[in-house]
């Protein structure tokens, strides 16, 4: 993975910095916001010290962890999907497939349609899906070779194809069905937030292509990022919260209809996954 990126860097491909910049990461930024951000960092450091003091009073481990994350703010890339803006056009699916050269029949990102109700009370909503880049990834816990791991530097969960043996344990462990076996290499593949783009200061391909601006990308730990601001003012949800995986893909206005629920025993509901796995996990 790392090697790929180095190759990519040395390939002479120049990035147009005016396009698709991630607002959250200031890579080689030459504008004056850098002093602002360092000032902010100082402030946060102080805040962290205060919070650490408070933590000893509260005695809670969470408070201490919170203080630590405030002190040396770690980057955790996240995506907010505003389903109110999604038109179900599959642009993200196609962009992802071409960007990542995904074999026929597989997808790292897809859009589910949820159709329900009976005329005239009917509804249709869209649920774009991808790897949730969980903070507590159950796929990482079960990997026997350490091939899949969560990157310290940006919180993206990746697969090292050199180490992966294709045992499919992580596919079993992922409640979101976000992983598949690449038929060419036999190793497991998944969405990595377009690491090759993100490391160049670009947003992931699906975010770049989304016509309705339904997909928003950034560092969730940065209070100035768009994702942070969106979650600060909107009600949001994550998928399968009960799994305890702490996803980093957040949804605004998502239809979390469960077609297998007793509620829909006698009424119409249909989920179209638009992928090889025609049913959800």
């Amino acid at each position: 993975m790392k090697k790929d990126i180095e190759d990519f860097n040395s390939s002479g491909f120049s990035v147009d910095k005016s396009l698709d910049r991630i607002p959250a990461v200031e890579l080689n930024s030459d504008d004056d916001s850098i002093s602002d951000s360092s000032g902010r960092r100082d402030f946060l450091m102080k805040l962290g010290v205060v919070a650490a003091g408070a933590a000893t009073v509260i005695g809670g481990q969470t408070a201490a962890v919170a203080a630590q994350s405030l002190g040396k703010r770690k980057i955790q890339y996240a995506m907010v999907i505003d389903t109110r803006r999604c038109t179900g056009c599959h642009g993200c699916t196609v962009a992802c497939k071409s960007e990542n050269d995904i074999p026929l029949g597989y997808s790292k990102s897809w859009v589910e349609y949820i159709e329900k109700g009976e005329f005239p009370n009917v509804g249709r909503s869209f649920l774009p899906r991808l790897c949730n880049q969980c903070s507590e990834p159950s796929c990482v816990d079960v990997c026997p070779t350490g091939a899949t791991f969560k990157r310290e530097e940006d919180g993206i969960v990746v697969v090292d194809a050199d180490k992966c043996i294709g045992c499919k344990y992580c596919i079993q462990a992922c409640p979101y069905d976000a992983r598949y076996v690449n038929p060419e290499t036999g190793t497991v593949d998944k969405c990595d937030f377009c690491l090759h783009r993100v490391s160049q200061g670009l947003v992931p391909s699906c975010v770049n292509t989304c016509e309705g601006h339904a997909r928003i990308f950034g560092d969730i730990n940065d209070p100035e990022s768009e994702v942070y601001k969106l979650l600060a003012v909107n009600s949001y949800s994550v998928l399968l919260k009960g799994m305890g995986t702490e996803p980093n893909v957040y949804y605004i206005g998502a239809d979390l209809t469960d077609p297998n629920s007793d509620m829909y025993e006698n009424s119409y509901v249909r989920i179209e996954t638009h992928r090889r796995e025609q049913e959800r996990r």
Binding site: T145, G186, G242, E279
Partner: protein, 329 residues
């Protein structure tokens, strides 16, 4: 069942064969330890030891066949498993299998030398290897359940009782497979052939043999009873839960996708019928009101039912766990 199964027959075969082989090893080592000076116990121990190694080895090969990299033509990429130790049950299990083979292969070898008998010059070494092999056999059998149990995303598997269920099933199929392997060896003349070629003592249907078989049949019955208990608890706790676990156990219940196979294959054929037959046979001697004769259906029918039931159990659990739907999204 529109989604493809991620783990199919090779994994089911592995879980079954590794459990069975580990169970046969535990049976073998136990018989050796309890029947130190008795040739009949020694012979049974030999059948168990010889059978155990290929069973676990073939199971492990199945596991390699299932690997995506192996199927894509990268035949040796699984060796990556040996470059690291992680907290993944699969990594721990891999190393456990290595340690199992390190102890089990020399143990089986001590039985294989020509003219091996219970008082030969390898007897001390054989005895010393027996206890570690019991422990490692149990560990390998338990691990097959832990492997599946590690994931909240597969609620049918994610029960602490699954490891226990697989352990008890592994031990009972292990005992049954040793009885079956003995019968097959005698029937096919393999036993006589070895007796002639390697100077091993001939299989005799004497009192001692009957005694060893009685002990195996009794422990077989106890193990089936335990398995029924664990299975009941497995069901009970799934029922007392909410959400995912309840939905998962529905797959095995009446009307569920795996229900016929489970109730007929596992409960009726694999547990209920064998325990009734076995109890009928061992009860007279167990209660002191009669004798036990290792004959008739005890030799073939019961072991076959137990082994087949053990396979169907793995099948139902592995497939059922993958088709059970999660609650919500």
């Amino acid at each position: 069942m529109e989604n493809e199964l991620v783990w199919g027959l090779p994994v089911i075969g592995y879980l079954f064969l590794a459990g069975l082989g580990a169970g046969a090893m535990v049976t073998s080592a136990t018989l050796l330890l309890i029947g130190e000076h008795k040739p009949a116990y020694f012979r049974f121990a030999r059948y168990g030891a010889i059978f155990s190694i290929p069973a676990v080895a073939i199971g492990t090969l199945f596991l390699i066949f299932e690997l995506g990299t192996f199927q894509a033509g990268y035949w040796f990429k699984w060796l990556n498993l040996f470059t690291t130790i992680t907290m993944s049950p699969m990594s721990i299990g891999t190393w456990m299998l290595v340690i199992f083979f390190i102890f089990a292969v020399p143990y089986a070898y001590t039985f294989m030398v020509s003219e091996s008998h219970n008082k030969d010059n390898l007897a001390a070494m054989r005895k010393r290897l027996a206890l570690p092999n019991i422990i490692l056999g149990v560990a390998v059998a338990v691990y097959t359940g832990v492997l599946l149990g590690a994931m909240p995303a597969r609620p049918l598997w994610n029960s602490p009782l699954l490891a226990l269920l697989f352990l008890v099933s592994a031990l009972s199929t292990g005992v049954a497979s040793v009885l079956l392997f003995e019968w097959l060896s005698v029937k096919t003349g393999l036993s006589d052939w070895f007796a002639e070629k390697r100077g091993w003592d001939k299989n005799q249907m004497d009192d001692e043999h009957n005694d060893a078989a009685y002990k195996m049949a009794t422990s077989g019955a106890v193990l089936i009873a335990l398995e029924m208990l664990v299975l009941s608890l497995f069901f009970l706790y799934a029922h007392l839960a909410v959400g995912n676990a309840v939905r998962a156990i529905d797959v095995l219940e009446f009307g569920g996708a795996m229900s016929t196979l489970f109730w007929v294959g596992v409960v009726l054929l694999g547990l209920a019928i064998p325990i009734v037959l076995e109890a009928q046979q061992v009860m007279p001697r167990f209660t002191g009101n009669g004798t036990y004769t290792h004959s008739g259906m005890m030799i073939v029918l019961v072991p076959v039912l137990v082994v087949v039931g053990g396979f169907i159990l793995r099948y139902v659990i592995v497939v059922g766990g993958q088709i059970a739907k999660l609650a919500g999204i």
